[in-house]
Amino acid sequence: MKKIQLIAITLFAITMVAFVSSLFISGFQVSNETISSHLDSKGMKSEILKERLLNEVAGVEFSNSFSATGKIRSVFIESNAIHEANVAEHRSNKAWDKSNDERQNIAKGNYRDFAYDLMKPSGNGHVHENKGLWLFLTFGLASIASLIFILINLKVLGPAGIKNTGIYFENNTSKGWIAWVTFSFLVLFYIGLYFFPSVIINWTYIVDPVKDVFGGGGASQWFLYGLLYCTAMSIMGIRMIVKYRHNKYQIVRTISVVFFQVVFAFLLVEILPMFGLPGVDLKSAWPLDYDFLFDWNVTNLLANGHFGKFVFVWGISLSLVIIPVMVYFYGKRWYCSWVCGCGGLAETLGDPYRQHSDKTVKAWKFERYIIHFVLLFAVFMTIWTGYTSYQQVYHPDMDYNDKVTLLGISSDTIRSWYGFLIGSIFSGVIGTGFYPIFGNRVWCRFGCPLAAYMGLVQRFKSRFRITTNGGQCISCGNCSTYCEQGIDVRAYAQKGQNIVRSSCVGCGVCAAVCPRGVLKLENGPEFNRISPDNPIVLGNEAFTLNSDITDR
């Protein structure tokens, strides 16, 4: 059995090597037509850019995405530099008309998306010509190998129960080199995904055949990400169910979170556009969904008839009504560990790393500062972008600068900083990339503005708590060790106090790993939900402290 597992792991490693090497073994040749039509469609007027692209890029056989991206980058940047220099010169000559004309030649946007758009239709080579084969070699074989490994665990791990044996000895789960390799892969993946999509274009070819199911048109890097996300969550979700097969709470929760990811964040997003509707993730809620009030989203929704308007109203009611009401009744777990995609990945792919969260009081203090800072940042950004959207809808003819400027600050600036710092670096690169080192909930604990918002409700007005079972705690520390949110659960349990921390996402693992049945996640009356600071734990009759409560 263990031998088969070893073979499965080796096979998985080979598929990962294949996946990474696919980036290097397939080239690009951009055609004249691609360049001309793309420049036209984007309204890029620069003759210099066009000429240089046609001379230096068109027809050239690039051996991989890196060299192609590099060339397009230098052409794009140098062309813009020439036009900018010209603008400056015209301005110094006070030739305002010429300056304005020349300004039109400066290409908007960044070279990364530009390179992606030119390269996506221009692939050739083995990966591009054998998409189906590569899909099988990577996604297919990796899934099969993982499933074999996971299902054999049903036998290898023995009877159902908590099986955390070796977590602090195994290389991957105790920050050994495998963890560092995984960390590097994830970080580089996110950097590629967010900042250099043209570099990972071969990966999008691999998933093109899947995109064809949803109407084709070529997979974007976001389609690739979505498919990878769903695959990882489904397979690691099965692992979670195998691991906790004695625990129905974990089984139900895992099925729920995988369901919401696959159906709402992926399938519906892909299927709705096939019917001419906007592909929206209906479960994604502001302020996690920070671009909800961006002008492009609002105008897009309002332009999409009844469905678009429904989505707009749904989004607002989700954030302002449904979420606080649900958090009142069930705690923020209903979202964070039952519905949310970020939480879903953390609970499945990230589960092997949950023990790495920092439990110190220091980390808790840091958490409270930074997560509420992000919430404030999100609120301010939304006010600014909301202002812009309002003007866009009601005063479309207003000057662009006036639309984006409120109190002298540009909403474009705020939102691009937010998108860069919070949306990309924090939630992606750090939030997921750092799983193997800092644990699986870094984003949810320190960065998610929605978690901060729900946390405030959970802490002060909710029926949810983790009940501590009288005097049964033996301070062993399993609960704290396996709390992905870095809550020192034991600190409460050994004092006989309920846990009502704002950061608790209700994953239920503390209760599962407790060897003495001390913890229970439950929703109940608010009375005594927050335990009094009772120094004497149940079981000692020598004292009658807090008699008003114990005698009731």
């Binding site: 023995g158 009877p159 159902a160 129960g161 908590i162 955390n164 044996t165 070796g166 977590i167 602090y168 000895f169 195994e170 004695h246 625990n247 129905k248 709470y249 089984i251 139900v252 110190t360 009081v361 009940t467 079972n469 009288g470 005097g471 049964q472 033996i474 301070s475 062993c476 520390g477 399993n478 704290s480 060790t481 034991r490 600190a491 050994q494 239920g508 209760a511 599962a512 790993v513 060897p515 003495r516 049945g517 229970k520 996640l521 439950e522 109940g524 009356p525 009375f527 005594n528 120094p535 004497i536 734990v537 149940l538 079981g539 000692n540 009759e541 020598a542 004292f543 009731r552």
Partner: protein, 454 residues
């Protein structure tokens, strides 16, 4: 001048006592321990060996806690105590003088004079040092089969530590033979049904469980290490490790020969006072001259250690308080099966007691209720595989509820995670068919659980 309270031992008893003294007073507090510098959870040592946690994780308080709470820590062994001058001699350090002294020195594994009991490769499991020794005596986690130092281990004594040691060794792929003197597992504590259930589960984990087997002699090989043991029935078992887990006894060796009254443990009264003025003893090492009614004179479990610490702290801070533990409770885990007990369920019912026993069809869960036959008064409960709410059961015991009340309110008492299958209807049906009672299961009521109504 501040009063100086010195506590020897930083286990749960001593540390709980120190914390509660600090809550109540400004006395100078010093905890002396030779075992480790910082308090850790003894019950969690097994998880360190199995790789569930690192030793760091077994510390219930961060290291800065002690300074913040002005509790001085001295890492060293006490060699001698002079009760007259109120000073302690520490093996490698300065003398310490005290105004009040708390002995919370714990216990050590029993050794019953077996031949070979001190050979290399023979050990108990109690202290941090025992864990270190076990690491030395066995091979690291993940060692390939042909390089494993220990192929088979023999564990002597069928109690909680024995089953923990078995679970630990199995994670290093060591085959385990488990010698148990009684004819059922943990026979002096568990009734027959529960003993059978645990026995089945131990065997399910491939432990070679030998009931009614006693250790006779431990033999060494040519290298001077353990090579095999002989049982009293003459069976030879080859092994490279012997775990002695036949209970523990107070760690009072170093106190012998002084003026302190000792028997098996340190003799104390209901206020934890020893025969020496200003000297107290709590936890595993303490032996009551007169036990609390219905309880043993030595209580060596986590919870009683904690309760003693809480109680003594009050006395030391001027509020003289008797040891008055509430209803007995305890818990443990046998591999994958959790166990809780509330009130008294003995291996054999006493005169006038009656049992109601229910077991799930798969044989991994059971409940055993004991009540007075004549009055129906509920006396205690063993539960395996189903968690119970301590507060609810404690309240039922306090109010001397009858067995039919307890059974009909099982839903209040259930503490299993959400979505778990509830077995209460089945238990109630079994109760009605086995006894003269006819009860109906009441729906779970938060009002009752929180004692907002009767």
């Amino acid at each position: 001048m501040q009063e100086h309270i010195v506590i020897i031992g930083n286990g749960i008893s001593g540390v709980t006592c120190a914390r509660h003294i600090r809550k109540r007073s400004d006395s100078k507090i010093t905890i002396i321990s030779g075992e480790t510098k910082h308090f850790f959870s003894r019950t969690a040592l097994m998880y360190v060996y199995m790789g569930h946690m690192k030793f760091e994780h077994t510390k219930p308080y961060e290291d800065h806690f002690w300074e913040k709470n002005r509790i001085d820590l001295v890492h060293g062994f006490v060699e001698d105590i002079s009760y007259g001058t109120k000073t302690l001699k520490i093996r490698s350090g300065e003398d310490v003088s005290y105004d009040k002294l708390v002995l919370a020195v714990g216990s050590k594994p029993n050794k019953f004079g077996w031949t070979g009991q001190d050979l290399p490769g023979v050990q108990g499991l109690y202290s941090y040092q025992d864990l270190e020794l076990l690491e030395q005596n066995t091979h690291p986690y993940g060692t390939p089969e042909n390089k494993q130092r220990v192929k088979r281990a023999v564990i002597v004594g069928g109690g909680l530590i024995g089953v923990e040691l078995a679970e630990m060794l199995v994670t290093r792929n060591i085959k385990v033979t488990f010698l148990v003197r009684e004819n059922k597992f943990w026979g002096n504590v568990l009734p027959k049904g529960e003993g059978e259930l645990v026995k089945r589960h131990i065997i399910e984990h491939h432990i070679d469980l030998k009931l009614e087997s006693e250790l006779d002699v431990i033999h060494a090989g040519e290298d001077g290490k353990v090579s095999h043991i002989m049982t009293k029935s003459g069976e030879r078992i080859d092994c490279e490790l012997v775990g002695l887990t036949a209970g523990v006894s107070p760690n009072v060796e170093f106190l012998k020969g002084g003026d302190l009254a000792l028997q098996r443990g340190i003799i104390i009264n209901q206020y934890f006072e020893t025969n020496q003025k200003g000297v107290y003893a709590i936890g595993d090492c303490a032996q009551f001259d007169e036990p609390v009614v219905g309880r043993r004179n030595m209580e060596q479990v986590w919870y009683t250690g904690r309760i003693m610490g809480e109680t003594l702290a009050a006395t030391l801070c001027g509020e003289k308080t008797k040891y008055n533990p509430g209803h007995w409770f305890n818990s443990a885990k046998f591999f994958d099966i959790e166990y809780q007990t509330y009130g008294w369920v003995f291996a054999n019912n006493s005169e006038g007691e009656k049992s109601f026993y229910w077991e799930h069809e798969k044989g991994k869960m059971c409940m055993h209720f004991v009540y007075e036959e004549s009055t129906g008064k509920f006396l205690g409960l063993n539960t395996f595989g189903i968690r119970m709410r301590h507060e609810v059961i404690n309240d039922q015991l306090n109010h001397e509820r009858s067995i039919d009340y307890v059974i009909s309110h099982l839903a209040d008492a259930n503490f299993d995670p959400e979505f778990y299958t509830l077995h209460e209807p089945e238990i109630v049906a079994a109760f009605n068919s086995q006894t003269k009672y006819k009860v109906q299961l009441k729906k779970k009521s938060w009002k009752r659980i929180l004692r907002l109504s009767k």
